[in-house]
Amino acid sequence: MSERKPIKGMSKARTEKLIKKTLAEMPEKAAKKRAPHFVANEPSASTCAVRSNKKVVPGVMSQRGCAYAGAKGVVWGPIRDVVHVSHGPVGCGMYSWGTRRNLMQGKPGVTSFPYNFTSDFQERDIVYGGDKKLMKLLREANELFPLNKGLSVLSECPVGLIGDDINAVAREMEKEFGKLVIPCNCEGFRGVSQSLGHHISNDSIRDFVIGKHKYDEEPGPYDVALIGDYNIGGDVWAAKPILEEIGLNIKSVWTGDGEIEKIAATNSVKLNLIHCYRSMNYMCKVMEEKWNIPWLEYNFFGPTKIESSLRAIGELFDDKIKKNVEKVIRKYRKEMDEVIARYKPRLEGKTAMLFVGGLRPRHTIGAYEDLGIQITGAGYEFAHQDDYDRTGPEMARDTIIYDDVSEFELEKFVDEFKPDLIGSGIKEKYVFQKAGIPFRQMHSWDYSGPYHGYEGFKIFARDIDMAINSPTWDLVKSPF
């Protein structure tokens, strides 16, 4: 792909000066630790120079979460037919209950469980251990929610610290219930961010889930699985129909609106299509090694990326699918052109800065560009080197790339580049809105969505226009 046009006013010198100026305001040790986490983008570099996946510098107000958040909030929580137990004190289960917008079908409390199940640890549990309580708890859960297809046990910090053996409990209960009981040792203090929680979850899927079930219909040539789509605001429901329209057979989704037994049978599909590379590329690799299932990253944000993704998917199949791909692209092109014709004149030339989680800082760039918006800065809360290597080429030269950016740092960058929009998380939203800068929450689509697929782009375009061109911003400055 050719490099993007440079953005007016951006230069390496300006970006580097900004980085330097920001670091100068920090204590020496913190500045030294933080310095490698910022770079002026070199799109053609073979690897992005930014450093990532390092410990949070204490005291800097990072936006990161923890391993538990990655395991419960991201990977396990969205599986709808499993009772997910937050094992430990009350807080973690409470704060992660329903706050990630992973929508699901089913009858709540009967066949789907969008609830907070917790052992609500008390001091005595810390002193005497919680294994016995966990057994009792799982029996109670299984009795009160009999149509569950499995139970998961997600451990919070104290469980690991006191050395409870949730794996042994899960093993015993799995035998007793005759259904999946999955332990996930995702204590929050593990690792440096949510990212390790994804990995630990992947390990538990690998060890306790995958290969444990088989589909009830014979395998077909177009069987695929969607990996790393969590159905935020209905994203899976917007992406699935497109793939079905080109003739693919979606056998399971990991894990948005997911079903555990379908996930457990994924080892028989022909291809894994991965959306959130960060959280699940490891599982794709596992399935590739063990079952020879190829995998492909795709991006369904904005028509440009949808089209190139569909064509790349088509390439892996026969002429029937390839033909369908072109048909689908033609079918929706008109609708997409209409969306662009409506919004682009209002958004052309605007700039945005992004700071989000797993994949969005790079995946959504195309959708902004479809609307004429340029990205002057991007970064991730918990990405690794391979994420940044995929990000550099998506951005213009000399734009700023920042890793695990703290509130202090992001404010400085925003002050300098004065973007027309910031796309980031809930904790940052009102900081910037108070300053009069339009903002969209890009973790949760700001309670809107879906943003995926053709349906999603219409909503995305409307929302971005609404954010940037809202008349309310004209009210911020008082006349007196």
Binding site: E25, K55, V60, G65, G109, D125, L137, K429, K434
Partner: protein
């Protein structure tokens, strides 16, 4: 076929009849019994954890940075919860302990954390509290703070009160209590001057996610010309202006005023259960009278509050407030018919529950189920006594240390007309097909409710209006055409 596939089980299928059977079963008396028999499993509790309460207190003091000694994820959860509820920034720093902290203790993180936080965010006070992790491994915060001071990582004169707030003990209201007590203890130490009286009222609102309630308390004091120090005042922090400038520390009680509060004329806490250790400390150490009153929900409790203020400060209740009272009583007598006899399930924190139930009894509504997912026998007795004081309290069930899944069973077997509680009760409300009136914290799915007072005379009007109009909406939306009328 490989080995794994050979042992793979077929998918489990539930027939539509089976799903229907269970869907009906979970609404039955039989299920309720099983549900209430559970001993280990908690489903949808209505309480949060200690450090979140501690953080709320920290936000209520001038230029104070909440500083969490513990893991990074916790602070993100607290910040997100406050931000989602108030739709405001909630700055808080953490020393982000990880595995090595678990092994070697958190002192290194603490040192680095305080140094960076102080340099970057220039706070006037660090309010330090803990999460589970350092509590389980037994970190000695007292020593850490002392050591950090010895190394000049904390500047001379920067207050660093701290509280132990493990999540596996109590709930958010206890964290609130612990942090408030410790901040007061820290800032007032050595400030007591015999015979000196500031003439001021110390007012403690307790754990209250409604910023307008706090404003209303302050307005009453202004109208009565009573100088007041609110401990702790989150009303500006979490209801700050949007004028093009972001301020990291809007509002909060001034530290000097807090220090002086020990020489106040009187101290009133408006929440008994979220301030019990604080009030113990205050009654032992502070000058002047100290007392706890119930939250002023409804007319009579507001009367009692104003009378107490009048008595303590020898100031008459002003005409403006008398007129307000009159208007509120007018509104309630006008509107009581739409709420009289309606049955309510109420869920929330102990102090809020006492307040809401007072309001319901006063307006002729019937509290039917009271659920508190973290409370004591003492609370149960107190709320029982409140129910006993009114014929409308007859037959009300009190369920302490029960959760929202218990509440669901209650609603299915013994229905109500509405629930009053925080957003988490929306699942139960939907299953029971009744409205949820969002009161308490967190409210994640409606806007601006924290900007409308629900205490005091205006609060009584607001609550009644909200509730009665919803019932009228339901009537208009669901009645058959012949019963659809212009007037209601």
């Amino acid at each position: 076929m490989n080995a794994e596939a050979a042992v793979a089980k077929p998918m489990t299928t539930h027939s539509p009849e089976e799903i229907e059977r269970v869907a009906e079963w979970i609404n039955t008396e039989e299920y309720k019994e099983k549900n209430f028999a559970r001993e280990a499993l908690v489903v949808n509790p209505a309480h949060m954890c200690q450090p979140l309460g501690a953080q709320m207190v920290a936000h209520g003091f001038e230029k104070t940075m909440p500083f969490i000694h513990g893991s990074q994820g916790c602070v993100s959860y607290f910040r997100s919860t406050f931000t989602r509820h108030f739709r405001e920034p909630a700055s808080a720093a953490a020393d982000a302990m990880t595995e090595d902290g678990a092994v070697f203790g958190g002192q290194a993180n603490f040192f680095e954390g305080v140094e960076n936080t102080i340099a970057l965010y220039k706070p006037k006070m660090l309010a330090i509290y803990t999460t589970c992790m350092p509590e389980v491994i037994g970190d000695d915060l007292n020593a850490y703070v002392k050591n950090a001071r010895a190394r000049d990582l904390i500047p001379e004169g920067l207050p660093t009160p701290y509280a132990n707030t493990p999540s596996f003990n109590g709930s958010h209201i206890h964290g609130y209590d612990a942090m408030l007590k410790n901040i007061l203890q820290y800032l007032t130490e050595g400030k007591k001057v015999a015979g000196k009286c500031t003439g001021k009222l110390n007012l403690i609102p307790g754990f209250d996610g409604n910023t307008a309630n706090l404003r209303e308390y302050k307005r009453y004091c202004e109208l009565m010309e009573i100088p007041c120090t609110m401990l702790a005042d989150i009303s500006e922090t979490f209801d700050s202006v949007c004028d093009g400038t972001y301020r990291p520390y809007p509002g909060g009680t001034k530290l000097e005023d807090t220090a002086e509060s020990i020489n106040g004329k009187a101290t009133i806490s408006l929440q008994k259960y979220s301030t019990s250790t604080t009030m113990k400390f205050i009654s032992a150490e502070f000058a002047g009278e100290s007392l706890t009153m119930p939250m002023p929900f409804g007319i009579k409790a507001t009367d009692a509050f104003l009378l107490k203020l009048s008595e303590l400060f020898d100031k008459p209740v002003p005409e403006a407030l008398k007129a307000e009272r009159g208007r509120a009583v007018d509104a309630i007598t006008d509107g009581h018919q739409y709420i009289h006899g309606k049955k309510f399930a109420v869920v929330g924190d102990p102090d809020y529950l006492l307040g809401i139930v007072t309001f319901l009894l006063e307006t002729g509504a019937i509290p039917k189920h009271i659920v508190c997912s973290r409370a004591t026998k003492k609370f149960q007795q107190e709320i029982q006594a409140l129910l006993d004081s009114s014929p409308f309290g007859e037959g009300c069930g009190i369920y302490i240390n029960k959760d929202l899944w218990h509440l669901r069973s209650l609603l299915m077997t013994d229905p109500c007309d509405a629930i009053i509680g925080d957003t988490h009760a929306k699942w139960a409300a939907r299953d029971a097909k009744i409205p949820l009136f969002r009161v308490g914290m967190p409210i994640l799915d409606r806007i601006n409710l924290h900007r409308t007072p629900i205490i005091g005379y205006n609060g009584a009007i607001n609550l009644l209006t909200q509730i009665a109009n919803k019932f009228l909406d339901i009537k208009d939306e669901t009645c058959e055409d012949p019963w659809f009328e212009m007037m209601r």
